[in-house]
Symmetry: C2
Subunit: 321 residues, 2 copies
């Protein structure tokens, strides 16, 4: 019986390369692919004929709102590493903070330049769902045909509420994104409910967070400072939470005695302050693994068992609660 090793020998390449080409799970140069398929055909070695499709770039697009944002930078590092393990390269698209056109991504999928797409951003406005395309979304809904990987933000909201309650908070403010349909906003609804059920006042401020970046987030907290200082707890993203801590220190407000702060995301920057920030930490490695796992299933044409996958978050209690 012909083995993969025989095909590799005949094609003059390694067994790993043959495996990648025949199972269509990674990049192989065009000339090499042709040699491998010719050898397999000649020797009668069976493979899934879909693997033979001529367009094989091995390039996966990763669409992010902004790399400067530390959560997206970390996620991109993790996705690139995870894709690399499976023989894929990573092409990054930013769709916020510059004029990059997200419909370009769909064009590159349609023409086969990209083998698949992992998106951490909203879909293009004219995206109508593409059945059969290898697209995975993190957090946001891209329509019924696109699997979603998401941190368990409801758990995150509950953990934050419990941490505020344990430290004796009575009046908590939270800052949330403008797009309340986004799954990331589950945390706000759950935190508000748990706190109210326990007799706390909750103020929820909706801001156009899609305007991202260090100076924007800092300015939001500064402009709401008169509201924040009437509170004894504040939950917001890492950048805004660090801004909140630094303004409190500047104004002589004691943290955590007078104001407890919880950062949401838990990226590396939250330990670069004193006191270190208490956070709800998203597990970037597990999120990236789940995204890539789902994408590989789509590329292999498998049925997706669950269209929504939730990854647990953790509360890291440090110095600000």
């Amino acid at each position: 019986m012909t083995t993969m090793r025989d095909v590799a020998k005949k094609a003059g390449v390694g067994v790993g390369t043959v495996s990648r080409a025949l199972s269509d799970t990674g990049y192989t140069a065009k000339a090499t692919r042709e040699k491998i398929f010719a050898a397999a055909d000649e020797m009668g070695y069976a493979y899934d004929s879909a693997s033979k499709s001529p367009v094989k770039t091995g390039i996966i697009g990763v669409m992010v709102p902004l790399l400067e944002h530390p959560f997206f930078a970390k996620m991109t590092d993790c996705l690139e590493a995870e894709l690399y393990k499976h023989g894929y390269k990573c092409m990054i698209f930013n769709n916020c903070g510059n004029e990059a056109d997200p419909t370009g991504v769909i064009y590159m999928l349609d023409t086969g330049i990209l083998a698949g797409l992992i998106s951490l951003a909203d879909p293009p406005s004219d995206f109508l769902g593409r059945k059969g395309k290898a697209i995975v979304s993190m957090d946001r809904g891209w329509g019924e045909n696109v699997p979603v990987i998401r941190s368990d933000h409801a758990q995150g909201g509950r953990l934050a509420a419990e941490a505020f309650l344990e430290s004796g908070c009575r009046r908590v403010i939270q800052f949330m994104g403008a797009n309340l349909d986004a799954g990331a906003n589950d945390r706000h609804a759950v935190m508000e409910k748990v706190l109210r059920d326990n007799g706390c006042e909750v103020t929820s401020v909706r801001t156009p967070w899609n305007m991202m970046g260090y100076s924007y987030d800092r300015n939001v907290i500064r402009s709401y400072w008169n509201v924040v200082r009437e509170m004894d707890g504040c939950m917001t993203n890492d950048i805004a939470a660090l801004s909140c801590l630094s303004i409190a220190l500047e104004m002589g407000v004691r943290v955590p005695e007078e104001l407890r702060i919880i950062g949401y995301d838990g990226t590396g920057i939250t330990r670069l302050c004193h006191p270190e920030l208490s956070v709800v930490e998203q597990d970037c490695t597990a999120l990236a693994e789940a995204c890539v796992d789902r994408l590989l299933q789509l590329l292999r044409g498998e049925t997706i068992p669950e269209m929504l996958t939730l990854i647990p978050v953790k509360l890291k209690k440090r110095g600000t609660t």
Copy 2:
């Protein structure tokens, strides 16, 4: 006389697309390119024949050590935006923090999957210089054929030294990378000289900074804390400088009265603390523009006027000096 508009009309595409294809300055789909060149040939419209080469991906590789590092994240955002302006897409390669193989980048250049490369990282160990390839390096030397874009780090070292002297420092410590050949290390030599010429003691600690990331940098400062506390000035990268500030606050060392701190890079994180960090700021926008400008010259086959381009830095005096 045949105009570009005539060629566009005959090929059934926009003038911008014709311009991109004939001047070879951006991505055009293969079928469209063929129509455009056929129309131009038929109508006798002149163009540089080098543009007609079949391999036109419009994809530029950007190689970075680690996106989680805020300077590289910001640079990647700026490079992606600048490349997009000129019709190019960006493919990211991390070469530190995961197992990604930098020689894969060279393979993708050789096979035409990448039209060019901008590297913010060291060259692969077996890279011997490729004359005629469109490669631009930021900071590091990639051999005599590769143009280098670099912040004026000597100016940065001088500005930092002057800031320490103005604030009355007498004993300054600086942390520097292991690879003293890297142009980024000019700042250390110049700062040390200017400070010594003015009667200051200088301690220069060489660390394997190539081990990057939030927790590594924080641990370095913590392990050197007994040395740092004997000093009255400290210069290091943004992450380590923020760590230095937070440890000082934790230990009750007054900043800037007892210890002045200067961060090198000046990314967004340096304003998320109290007092805000004084920094030497690299101009990421100008660095990205210069990298892309140089790359476009190489893609057009032009002679590079200067193999080394220096971009000015700025001292931003804030709360820690």
